[in-house]
């Protein structure tokens, strides 16, 4: 199985969050990337946009399919990885690092507790594969 660092939190929609204080950096997991195939297009929200946990915040497209991106946490978008929008293949190369998408200023800190740990996420993947 791919490497899912303990420093990240995960969702069952296969997004990861790197939380430091009141902000979270968000992307999609290695598993999501493998399912999608070659990513060729990425649409992200504007700087300052509000995103809501569980609601779509963008779109990622591979050569074959269109998928929505779901916000793992609610808050205001404080950074957008414009480099990744211009060259979305960065997601293929390194989904957990170069593939970061947006930074959120967390507005509902209690939502953090609902995210999955690396161990829980790996269990979820194992259950899906069996």
């Amino acid at each position: 199985m791919a490497d899912y660092p303990d420093s990240l939190k995960y969702t069952k929609e296969h997004e990861w969050s790197r939380i430091s204080g009141k902000t979270a950096v968000v992307g999609i997991t290695e598993f999501a990337k493998d399912q999608l195939g070659d990513v060729v297009y990425l649409e992200l929200p504007e700087l300052g946009a509000q995103v809501t946990r569980g609601q779509p915040f963008g779109v990622v497209e591979s050569t074959k399919a269109v998928s929505e991106l779901f916000a793992p946490l609610s808050g205001k978008v404080t950074k957008v990885n414009q480099e990744l929008v211009d060259a979305p293949e960065g997601i293929n190369d390194s989904p957990h690092e170069k593939g970061w998408m947006i930074e959120i200023e967390i507005s509902q800190p209690d939502e953090v507790g609902q995210l999955l740990s690396a161990a829980q996420y790996k269990e979820l993947l194992a259950a899906q594969e069996s």
């Binding site: 779109v59 050569t63 074959k64």
Partner: protein, 366 residues
């Protein structure tokens, strides 16, 4: 449950991602669509296309029977030559697009889409006439497509007799990788040189293994779709169907309205041509942001009215631009005409462009 091709175990062994397509479990990709796509453009790739069907017409008047079934003119085709054609219903709508291999005026071998295996067979049986046998051979044959600039030399080296001298759309029976009774045709669905090889089902694995061992990359349906779309080859079920005619689909060149004896659908097509086409399939590039996909609505610039729809769309791996095919009203079909595509409820600018999108010349540019 989805059917399997004779190469199913080879795909699993190569860790292909399998999907259901037209009732068959098929590989959509092995390592990645873009990588497989580039392998075919630059070197060589092999595709399992055994889901396609094969129907044979036999009898003293088989050629005349075939002439009534297809839109193209098989008398312009010599023995040993193949021809692209459509089967039409009596409204001129496309039942299927096929390749007819003329062995002789008494024997014609027809390759149909997977979705046409039963449908085309029944239709041919009811239209072929009493003195022509219509034989269902879809399960007897496997088919692989070997495509790309290095493909001809590799297939030639494995074939006895040799096949490198075959011109485009010609074929020959040969032994390939020791498998007797193969049909090797200089045809394809990628815009590259190469061969399509029909082999007896139980010979599929040795043929596949020998070609892969010669350095040809296994490629899935994903790359097959992006390769064909870059050269604007139509996909049955997406770009044409029984509600669209070959004239509307831009396939007027395979419709021979004046051939002696006529064909099913000729009358409707003649009338449509005389009345003028109301809509046409065009190639487009997306000027704004996004990728247009099958089924997305098309509208005139700034006008909230659906006047057509996208039938195929992808991000071209060669051009790195979003390309596609769409039906638009004839007055919007001229090269350069602007229109809009609704991508997730937002209008995005697009423009009609000349096809094929990718040419050999364009690929050579840095």
């Amino acid at each position: 449950m989805a059917r399997r091709t004779p190469l199913h175990s080879a795909h699993l062994a190569a860790s292909a991602r399998m999907v259901e397509f037209a009732g068959f479990e098929m590989p959509v990709q092995y390592e990645g669509i873009v990588e497989e796509h580039s392998a075919v453009r630059q070197r060589a790739g092999i595709f399992d296309v055994s889901h396609m069907g094969e129907i044979v017409l036999e009898g003293p008047r088989a050629l005349q029977a075939a002439q009534r079934l297809v839109t193209n003119d098989l008398t312009k085709c010599t023995d040993g030559q193949a021809q692209y054609a459509a089967l039409c219903n009596d409204r001129g709508g496309v039942i299927d697009d096929v390749i007819v291999y003329r062995f002789s005026p008494r024997r014609l071998f027809i390759c149909v889409n997977a979705s046409g295996r039963e449908k085309d067979f029944e239709w041919m049986r009811s239209h072929a006439g009493a003195d022509t046998d219509v034989l269902q051979q879809s399960d007897d044959w496997a088919q692989v497509a070997v495509q790309g600039p290095r493909a001809p030399g590799i297939v030639d080296a494995l074939s006895e007799p040799r096949v490198i001298d075959l011109p485009y759309y010609h074929f020959r029976e040969a032994t390939v990788a020791g498998v007797r009774g193969c049909i090797v045709a200089r045809t394809g669905y990628t815009g590259e040189d190469g061969f399509e090889i029909f082999c007896p089902s139980d010979g599929a694995r040795p043929v596949w293994d020998a070609i892969v061992a010669a350095g040809v990359k296994p490629c899935g349906l994903g790359a097959r779709d992006s390769l064909r779309l870059e050269v604007a080859y139509r996909l049955y079920g997406n770009d044409m169907d029984e509600e669209h005619t070959p004239l509307e689909a831009g396939l007027g060149w395979i419709v021979k309205l004046d051939k002696p004896g006529g064909f099913v659908g000729a009358e409707a097509l003649r009338k449509q041509k005389a009345d003028g086409l109301k809509r046409k399939l065009v190639g487009f590039k997306v000027a704004g942001k996004g990728i247009a996909r099958h089924g997305y609505p098309v509208r005139p610039p700034g006008v909230e009215k659906h006047v057509g729809e996208v039938t195929s769309g992808t991000m071209s791996p060669t051009l790195k631009e979003a390309i596609g095919l769409a039906y638009v009203p004839t007055d919007m079909s001229r090269e350069g005409s602007p229109f809009e595509i609704e991508i997730r409820d937002r209008p995005v600018a697009a423009q009609v462009v000349k096809t094929p999108f990718v040419t050999k010349e364009a690929q050579k540019k840095p």
